[in-house]
Symmetry: C5
Subunit: 404 residues, 5 copies
């Protein structure tokens, strides 16, 4: 996600290329401009006060307008949907993190707040261990959720959360060593691939690892399916096949990891109750299950956006319309504009704006991928980790009302 | 659902026909183009510098514009509603699956997590059987829900879930043996029927069976209404008539199956409690009933979209407007465009884009049918099965915080 | 609600009149067309190559465009709101039925599932009677809710649900004896009244009675306010006045019936608990109260749409704009179109499409009345009855996992 | 709120002035029309076949179109937001009333339904008194909420609910004695003030008092802040200052009344439990707290609309654009229309429709004030009172299933 | 937030500059106007009845229209999104405050309402202290939430709530001493910075401190992270790094403060239960946890709007389009308007309205900053404080039903 300043009417934004939609429009704008100039030089040549040949084709531009109108309209709605998907993804993601934060607040306090006053050392140790483990598991839960949303199936991208390290950048421009490893804009594929090449996404994800509080054990990696060869494929549908190994261990498909870790969270809560902790009344403990389920809904609605592309027939329709537009608008422009440079410029602007609107929509409609306009997933994970860490250590100080 | 690549500005999408809205627009585009050319050759013949006859009809195209404006506008809003219905269906479906997944996580853990430590073998066997049966019933519940949404009333399309088999394809183009059985695009009816012929839908559904974990017993089939002749009719309203057989067994109408299986799910939970399982406190167990009910709401809101078509008067309005447009736009185009080929092309583009926008809306507004742009219901069922299977087998591994 | 086929691009829909918005547009379209022709024959007479008189009034049609633009725009938004209200009504109705279904699933299972194994015959009889009565009351609750939404205050339209009878039709065209009793389209008032005449609505409601499982006792009719003369008036606000009869019985106003029956539902649940039934733990039973309240919200939000018309100032604005448009568009068309038949046709199309869009909105914005484009309330009640009846009789069969 | 008939295409609505947006547009429409005629008579004078002077200013009206386009568009969106606020207000209000109704159903039944069978007379009297007091307090709660929404801070406008009286009118045209007291439309300020003068609102509110079941005691008035001088000012923010009187009584600011009464409702519930009533299990009683809180959310979201005006910069933008439009559209119209009467009429229509759209938005965007297009708050209160009164008296009659 | 009058059609609003979007459009409008005049004087010079040179460039303005159409459309949608964000922020904020108010109502009553009748003085003192402390903590919670939303990280801006002081103004124009300290509009940076300069925001926040009931202790300041140097940077992502001091105290990053205080709220509730207070049944107390979590969701969804800017590529697209528009519209206007002053005025209006629409969107899309059109956060905090204070002191008076 690119943070930008609103000063000076946003004019400084004009010179940022990495993340801009305009470079991707250049091929089409240039093509149309060229056609326009070519027509100006041939059929649209205006001589001796007589209308040019191409001008004589049209008595009025209206017949073109009826077509261009629907193209323009359709584009604006598409970009409306694109932003809608972006924002829905952001909202669902926030629901997920907010509710899982709540679960941490509740569980930690329900456990610590009900410890018997005469707890022995072993009991204290266990309480501390439970708290740490719970925080660790919630961090892991959040990490595999975030990972799933960015279509990242590499377990290696889960790393221990390191509070000493600086936060991951929101804007991938600030990834360290980025230059060396090709994160700068203006590679050829940026013109053609919307930064969606598999190699690019892989590199990007590995440059932005996701921290897990306390790290991850080998056993946990196995439980998350490490022993199953990742399908390594963009198709999330292809990722729901799990397996039951010969030793009886169940290996979830990559797309099942979130539910599996959620199950572990349930298990540790029940284990803790068995050993006498979390001694809060059940009607209050039940809230924890509610917020866990609400957070899961946030995850699943985010996942919906990740795995359901904007529908094919609409996309094809937009692509066709834009191409027809780019090919035909020079005809009408060259017919009605007699000045070559003006015809060229107008064609350029018309095609560039139409394509750019489409490119913006294509970029935003998948909010969890396509850097640098994706949502800052690694940072989101970092903030979640820091938040639950600070929750695990805070103790209510005296209030003014309690003084004296 | 068609998964597609965003590379190269989506240009490769232009050559995909199966699932495209354009072929269905050809008859109208060609008709209008033909009218346009015919007019060009007759009344729009421009001779001796004098305006053609048809040109002399119009002093300005504005009178046409006022009509075309409302047509274009209406189309864009219709396609807006179409996408709205598609997306609402997708969201409600996700709600259903997410919440029913949660029910599985909760019930399995509430049962296993409260087993007494000194459980005897019979008790263990029963616990295992309960877990398996619960997973089976949730899979069946999800399957009949999915089946209802795709208007599929054939109980034969429910098959045992087979983990060894590959996943069902999202894109029906990849159905095996599809060529042989007519799933390729470009049959004549595809031009005329939006793939909605009853024979086609029946074949498609039987090629995409829905898996149920553990399979289905004959008794269950009977309980789902096998003995009642299916009405075999598209009209879901016609499907709510059940019967009480002479032996006292109640046979639900096809549209009641989901609620009936939900009732079975309630029954098994209570049975398990009676035999001493699910020994979690009631205030916590109550969450299960909540997520089951929330998931049911997801189903019912999906069903609403399935059984409430986009309203007739609007559809008729759109059809009339488009037809008037296709018949009259050649008049205005031929009057103002003197060049035959240009008039033909502009007519073609104008009519094609207007119709295509309408066809996209017609395709998307019913998100659970009309392959290949429907939501991938069989795959959705498969993923749900795999998810609950992996939940039924996972056990929390040691965390780093518990080491040493 | 009209079910229609999507085959053949919807062209067959063009010949359906009953439910179409077009007939209601005829008076205005014809009026405008006539004005247009009259103008063509008088001031727009084009003679000797000189521009006609009316043509000389306009140098450019733009001054008209600025007015027509806002009219067209406003219409499209109005029809957007109309569909929005329709869909919101449908969604709220589904919420109501879904949640009240859930209440039946829960209560029946919570009662049967907790009966002691050694229940005596009297106890079994009571349990059966409770189940039947609860199903009856939920059916009555749903029936009075549905009746309220369709602004039907006649208690006589509540009839015993008869499983032997065929389902009520969705499309009122298929009401039996409809011909005899005037349900065919194309009566004079259909041109003028949007099928909203009080006589028509009364007849329609009595032709589509609402079934209640088990019928209704005289006592229940009294409790619903039978002894109070119905106000028999469209104004729902006028219906909230109840009375306390001299014998102390409270008579609710017609608009209060739903809450009154809901109170009865609460009472039977508590009675059953008193006599020892519904012996589920309270934290689980509490779900029943939740789903009843959620369903009630669905009802109340539906009722909101029923009793809050689309705001008057907007409606008046739309009516004024359309009338001005119909009166003035012939002036601009006749000025710019020299050919009489073309001017006539364009005027006709322009006025017809504008009015039709408005009529579609007027029809859909009140989703519970105005056949045949209303939601199928009688069918909805029938399906609810059948659903809860099948729930009351189903028993979980053995699953594959329990075999052997 | 104005109830209107849909018969005859709504044409009868054209003659209703009180509540219409058009009268308020007259000054601007007339001004623009006058400018237009003045221009026609001077610079647009068309003589001797030569173009008029003003016509010679424009070669094409497009330069004006680019400005008018954005004005029209912006207006339609504004009116979209206006209706959105109206409808959101209506929905939130319904949520409030629906949930607080539910609270009455629940509390009354939870109390009566758990009375011991052998209750003595004192106990019965207490139960009756509790029921009456609870109904009274809920009525008071609803009344202060409704009062807050209509920005009415006069405690005198709370009156005892009188079942014998007719319902308050929805349409203020039917307020009795209205003529005498100035409620008829067409006073001078109606042209200028959108019925928002402080004097007018005060009079209107006092003509439409809000009923409270059982009336209000002096003590309650004091508790609601009677002793604090009302700020009597439109600014709701200015109303949140309370005080603690010397006798220790807390006086809420007017904007706090709803929360204060809600606190009283909580208190009476706990008092009743202390004296042995409401003997339902706590997990079921907890629903009451849930529906109270949900209803409160409905109130608060309604209040948001009341206290957050449509943002200033947008309003200013709309006002500027409309004024520029009204001043300049005569220039372009008079240039292109040679016929004086046509120029006058077109100017009139153009300005009138643009302003009317804006006035409709201004009227609807604040749904709780500005008669007669406000929501019928007094009627809403009346219906709530009647509903909870009928709930307090109803007893479940025998059902058919219980006969014999 | 600016409160304004609707009298006189809003005309008085035209003279308000501070908060207006128009001044920021002046540079562009003037630039375009100048270009327009320059062109009129050079290439658009119309001599001897021959078309000017620039006029001869265009046969028809349509080629420009196709570009301007998409610009206008895009702008209207952007401003739609801007208002959408504003309103979503307002709604989420209301959810937060409403639910946290509910928590206060509940906790205070659950504590006082369950005190034993024979409570000794120490017990009463404790109850009072608990009530006061709880109110204090909820006020602090709300204050840090509000502070976070306005991107204010200075703990010094938290001050004791002083009931004697007047309310903070909604409209910053009324800040006392504002003149002296630069809060008047029309400083140079207001033209360029949208009041978003860091210095300005800092000053504004310190002029509008947030009250906390009871003040804040030094210990609380430390617990909120006082000892950690604030990063003092706009980037909220940079604020999630906390620390664990050598003495074991955890210091949250500024962005974690809300969750930390929420944890304190949980802790005090549990402490109170331990010492015997809040003796309500757990199933009822559990509602408190629910409303706290719902309020937190309101906060988190508000925070989402604060930390996720409107996406960069769209903003850049809008900026580019507007600039191209401002540079090119003079060309088309000067070509078609022969009269210099008219060309100048039309250019001015066209550019001003387009830019103003964009500026309105830029202002509203971040609803918690950019005075004076921000939401009145300090006032919101004040009203919350007053509300919970009046709740802490109110006692139910006798009702009419309890008299005699």
């Amino acid at each position: 996600m690119i943070l930008y300043s609103k000063n000076y009417w946003g004019l400084p934004l004009l010179v940022r290329f990495y993340g801009s939609a305009f470079p991707r429009t250049i091929p089409f704008a240039v093509m149309s401009g060229a056609i326009s100039v070519a027509l100006e030089w041939t059929v649209a040549k205006d001589e001796d006060g007589l209308p040019s040949e191409s001008r004589s084709w049209w008595e009025h531009p209206y017949p073109y307008q009826t077509f261009a109108f629907i193209v323009g309209f359709m584009l604006v709605f598409r970009s409306n949907f694109g932003y809608g998907r972006y924002w829905e993804g952001r909202t669902a993601l926030q629901l997920m993190s907010a509710k899982w934060s709540d679960a941490v607040i509740q569980v930690l306090n329900f456990d610590f707040g009900t410890l018997p006053p005469d707890l022995d050392d072993e009991g204290k140790r266990r309480a501390r261990r439970f708290g740490d483990t719970f925080v660790h598991l919630m961090s892991l839960l959040h990490a595999v959720a975030v990972q799933n949303l960015r279509k990242d199936w590499e377990l290696d991208n889960l790393r221990p959360h390191d509070q000493g390290q600086p936060e991951p950048p929101m804007d991938p421009r600030y990834i360290k060593d980025a230059t060396k490893r090709g994160m700068r804009y203006m590679t050829v594929t940026d013109f053609t691939h919307l930064r969606s090449g598999k190699g690019h996404i892989k590199m990007y994800n590995s440059l932005m690892p996701l921290g897990v509080v306390g790290g991850i054990t080998e056993e946990e990696f196995v439980g998350l399916g490490k022993d199953m060869k990742d399908s390594g494929d963009d198709n999330p549908g292809g990722l729901s096949r799990g397996a039951r190994l010969s030793n009886g261990v169940v290996i979830p498909g990559p797309a099942e990891r979130v539910q599996v870790v959620m199950s572990w969270v349930h298990q540790i809560v029940l284990e803790r109750r068995r050993e006498g902790g979390l001694a809060i009344e059940a009607p209050i403990l039940t809230r924890v299950y509610q917020v866990l389920s609400e957070g899961m809904l946030g995850f699943e609605q985010s996942r919906k956006i990740m795995d359901t592309p904007f529908p094919f027939p609409w996309v094809q329709f937009a692509t066709v319309c834009l191409l027809l537009y780019a090919l035909t608008v020079p005809i009408v422009i060259s017919a009605y504009i007699t000045e070559d440079w003006l015809a060229f410029l107008l064609t350029l602007f018309a095609v560039m704006t139409y394509y750019a609107l489409n490119e913006v929509a294509r970029d935003l409609e998948d909010p969890f991928i396509y850097d640098p306009n994706d949502l800052p997933m690694a940072r989101h994970q970092y903030a979640f980790n820091e938040r639950i860490l600070s929750l695990s250590g805070t103790k209510r100080p005296f209030s003014p009302t309690e003084m004296g």
